[in-house]
Symmetry: C2
Subunit: 149 residues, 2 copies
DNA sequence: TATTGTTATACTCTATAACTATA
DNA sequence: TATAGTTATAGAGTATAACAATA
């Protein structure tokens, strides 16, 4: 990775990070996609699937599948939005919240060796820079409407 | 991506970066994997497949497939290492070098909007931090032996 | 016995198009 | 006509195990 573009470095580190996440959460019985959705739901509270998809950079068609899996396992709740009945309103269940907490712990433990190369100040700096790119690039915040029940 | 671990942010940005690379090089008729291998070969000169695999963080079994595809298209050259005949010695061909140059150009053009969120100083900083992680984490440099012909 | 690389296979992820239903 | 979501499908990427050849 000697003289690569930013895209290539990000792609390589991203692949490594994804593999790390996958290994860490495998004992919990969820995939990386499922974990991503749970995390995003925890952040956004209640949202539509389109909002979720664009926030995560996933294709809506794939998100539909992932959410169905999570609903089947009672980790998320999906019901029609009364204000716009095309939409679904999606939220975490108590079980989903609980499992997500376990996942966070497992992942945090697994990334410690990633961070040993940086001192705390550098870690914070990196976090800030990455977030700035993520926010600026294409991840639209997307507002969650109300509804459900 | 409000309150996520470093792994999650890296995974998300990595996915985006991979998609960006894929779109950029699609007109050239190569996959992201193939591009990665070409890039790495340009950096390392002549190497074994094991060295390549560990440098890229790819599984050797998948690398075998990718390299075969590249050999079929005459973008890389693969022949047995005389010093250790288990090994292959892999290099870029002239055609591979040429195609790689086009790919670099296409990718550089496609990542400009990624970088608008950061000023030049921050871009350099980010590059440094990511490289430090990449070097420290698990990407072993791997020495390329001599051989071929 | 350990290492280099291959093949086969199963699973996950990505991307597209065609579709339903609501607006 | 446009938007939210679904289904189906094909292609790309990831992971594992079993194997051949060489060291």
């Amino acid at each position: 990775m000697a003289s690569a573009e930013l895209s290539s470095i990000l792609a390589a580190l991203g692949r490594d990070a994804t593999a790390r996440v996958r290994r860490a959460i495998r004992p919990l019985g969820i995939t990386a996609h499922q974990y991503l959705v749970l995390t995003q739901l925890a952040d956004l509270g209640l949202t539509s699937q389109t909002a979720l998809a664009s926030a995560l950079g996933l294709d809506p068609s794939n998100l539909a599948t992932t959410i169905s899996e999570l609903v089947d396992r009672d980790l998320v709740d999906r019901c029609r939005d009364d204000a716009d009945r095309r939409r679904y309103a999606v939220t975490l269940t108590a079980a989903g919240t609980k499992l997500l907490r376990k996942a966070h712990t497992a992942i945090a433990a697994s990334e410690s060796d990633l961070l040993t190369a940086l001192d705390p100040g550098q870690q914070a700096q990196l976090h800030t820079l990455l977030r700035r790119i993520a926010d600026g690039a294409e991840l639209c915040p997307a507002a969650g409407d109300d509804a459900c029940d």
